[in-house]
């Protein structure tokens, strides 16, 4: 190691123009730099600079919101790789999956990770909701963020469901057939639902056929689910997640035993806003 009088390698590195152009704050370990490290970083500034001790305890949040988000990121990254090799066409889809599994380097593990992360995300989002309920964190001032959460839950399930069809194997087609059959029974709008006669819907023109583009799960359904799965739902879910995270901050940060005080003019909020 370099002697104290001379600059150490680390020191000359973190004082270089390159480093300083990326990280504006000083490197020395002090309170100010710890705060700036979070504040001046576009990704980290989702977080408050300081937060209550209980919020970093695993036994309070179970980390489940964060794990859900991580699962989402895994599916996004692996999903992009899968999209390079997959064509949502009746003739190709199944063969593309086979090719991906057997001939594409790391194709199998990409597919496995995509699938397992999607399943894990469904479980973790349920557990996250369960935790939020147990801690009563949906209570004022966080009512609206719970509503956003329920939308996220719904879109998580829809993401998983639309992806289920894409391998175009027996499992996929029949699971989606069973799932979408329910839409036939929609009151008024499904041809087997109550009061369907009044509206005059048929098996070719009803809620289910609008969803799958026909009266049975065929190539049009594959294309529709592909577009929903890879474009529409991820965009909506991402937008909702941005809203969700932003609202956590704006609603006074992570909930805690003190937020009963929110009832009396919300002192948590005022102490939070000074750091955001």
């Amino acid at each position: 190691m370099a002697p104290k009088t001379k600059k150490s390698l680390t020191e000359s590195f973190v004082e270089s123009q390159l480093w300083r152009s990326i990280f504006r704050h000083g490197y020395a370990d002090n309170s100010r730099n710890r705060a700036l490290g979070v504040l001046s970083n576009v990704w980290l500034h989702l977080h408050p600079v300081r937060l209550p001790l209980h919020a970093v305890r695993v036994r309070y949040t179970w980390c489940m919101g964060g794990i859900t988000f991580l699962m989402y990121l895994i599916t996004v990254v692996t999903g992009v790789v899968l999209m390079f090799y997959y064509r949502p066409v009746g003739e190709y889809a199944y063969a593309d999956i086979k090719y991906l599994q057997h001939d594409v380097p790391f194709g199998m593990i990409m597919r496995n990770m995509h699938r397992w992360a999607a399943h894990a995300m469904v479980i973790s989002v349920w557990l996250h909701m369960f935790r939020v309920f147990l801690t009563g964190s949906y209570k004022p001032p966080r009512e609206f963020n719970w509503v956003v959460g329920v939308l996220l839950l719904t879109f998580t399930l829809l993401l998983s469901f639309t992806g289920y069809l894409l391998p175009w194997d027996q499992l996929a087609v029949w699971a989606v057939t069973v799932g979408t059959n329910m839409a036939r029974a929609t009151p008024m709008l499904g041809h087997e639902g109550p009061f369907a006669e009044l509206v005059g819907v048929t098996s070719r023109y009803d809620a289910r056929s609008a969803l799958i583009g026909g009266s049975l799960v065929g190539p049009p359904a594959l294309l529709r689910f592909y577009v929903l799965h890879c474009i529409f739902i991820p965009i909506v879910a991402s937008v909702l997640m941005i809203l969700h995270f932003w609202r956590i901050r704006k609603d006074g940060g992570i909930s805690g035993p003190t937020s009963l005080a929110a009832l009396e003019g919300s002192p948590i909020r005022s102490s939070e806003s000074s750091s955001s």
Partner: protein, 274 residues
Amino acid sequence: MSSEQTVDSAASAPASENGGAQTEIDAPKRKVRDIPRVHTWPHLLRMELLCTLVIMVVMVLWSVAIDAPLEEPANPTLTPNPSKAPWYFLGLQEMLVYFDPWMAGVVLPSLIIVGLMAIPYIDINPRGNGYYTWRERPFAMINFLVGFWILWILLIIEGVFLRGPGWNFFLPWQEWDAHKVVALTNVDLHEMLGVRNPIAISIVGAIPLAIYYGLAALYWKLKSQKSPVLKELGLPRYAVTAFLFLTMWLLPIKMLLRYTLNLKYIWVTPWFNI
């Protein structure tokens, strides 16, 4: 009722802000200032990093060890028996045993979503916000726990592991017999009562349901003047809460009636059955 007492005393606190309850209000404020805080960097970020690393390792190992399923190519002429929806929807598919598709597949799922969204607006108990407590909110806890663990998770487990061909019930060690014959002995309520007239059939079935939901109105009529909780809640909130509560419990009640009385439908009409 202890739950009503706790709800009431806390709910009235903000209302009396300018009144005498000054000491009670000051207490939590002081606590907020004194609450121990730590820097996000490093205390939270290092936890997040650690958590991410552990989860990534688990996901990679899982994906190396177990391959995602891929069956035969899609074949529209070959329906597998049983045909199961993705596992996370099997609770809904399981409800098809007890309700018709319009109810199990459309109305109840919609009510689950809407009902979940309604929770923060109908649960006005200010206690138990930000900490784990069973005692301070027993009604909310019991209903959510039953709804989540029994009516959602347990039904999924049943759908995944215990349902075989024809959606018949099989224990894990029983062989899936596609030709298992199950006697269809379920009868509608009006059949039990021996009602034949088509108009009378529609009416007979409506009565128990009217009574069931009417109980909520009766409870309001008897209690709303006396119970401070109900007063605080107000009629619109009460009505939504009661409707969601009774509809959720309709499922276990119908299951119970199926297994004890072989009841098929409570209410049969030319348009729909419940």
